[in-house]
């Protein structure tokens, strides 16, 4: 019974791990993103989320590897070993921190759902930036298979990526 419940809620098993959505919005194909760093999968496999609000929560239980000084991105290592980069908007490093608020720092332990950062979606768009936010598995090459679930709207913490070790 417990196993069935675990499967329903997308919990991790021995060979498989599930990455949940850190942002509420539409999950898009990463190859369609307007930036070859992401669309060419230079940093790894993943998805891109078109946000509906300015919140980013932890997509997994894990540790914050790095909250970028410019707060537009952060990397997190899940307890199962997935290295995840969440990059809010494209080229937003140029904002140098404006419109972003960090809620965690390097080394913090987090649980899925913990608030990582907040951003002012409207101001970022007004400043001329594309707000689509890639969520990338930086150590993609170490896994046997990575499946992404795109083409639908998700709430925070709905399944977006499945990794087979």
């Amino acid at each position: 019974m417990l196993k069935k419940l675990k499967e329903m809620f997308g919990k991790n098993t021995e060979n498989e791990m599930v990455i949940l959505s850190p942002i509420q919005g539409e999950v898009c194909d990463i190859t369609k993103v307007n930036d070859p760093t992401f669309s060419d999968k230079l940093l790894g496999e993943g998805v891109a989320i078109r946000p509906e609000n300015g919140r980013v929560v932890a997509p997994v239980d894990g540790t914050i590897a790095m909250m970028f000084e410019t707060k537009h991105a952060c990397t997190i290592v899940s307890d199962q070993g997935a290295e995840i980069l969440i990059h809010v908007g494209l080229d937003t490093v140029n904002l140098k921190g404006e419109f972003y608020t960090a809620h965690v720092k390097d080394g913090d332990k987090v649980k899925a759902g913990d608030l990582l950062l907040e951003f002012d979606m409207d101001k970022i768009k007004e400043a001329g930036y594309d707000i689509i936010s890639p969520v990338v598995i930086c150590n993609s090459a170490t896994f046997a298979k990575i499946e992404t679930y795109t083409g639908m709207r998700v709430q925070e913490l709905e399944k977006i990526i499945r990794i087979e070790k």
């Binding site: 790095m66 390097d106 930086c138």
Partner: protein, 85 residues
């Protein structure tokens, strides 16, 4: 073993794009590649590792190449840095 020292000249420092390209270039080589920023040292073929150095404009990075193709790796990475960072 070969060592390369390079001072970052790009305004934005070593952010996602150049970090990804650097790792992609480094990963083509068999030799061991380590990157240092002062006392902090990381695996040069790890995206998370390289980004965690948080190298900014004006910072000096040291790259240590150790292995059979270290000459080629050194030249390739040096050219890459001059062009991109």
């Amino acid at each position: 073993m070969k060592e390369l020292r390079y001072v970052i000249t790009d305004e934005l420092g070593l952010h996602a794009r150049p970090a990804g390209l650097l790792v992609s270039n480094a990963s083509k080589f068999a030799c061991n590649i380590r990157i240092k920023n002062g006392s902090k040292e990381v695996e040069g073929k790890s995206i998370l590792g390289v980004m965690s150095l948080a190298l900014k404009k004006g910072d000096e990075m040291q790259i240590i190449f150790d292995g059979p193709d270290e000459e080629e790796a050194y030249k390739t990475i040096q050219a890459f840095l001059k062009e991109n960072l």
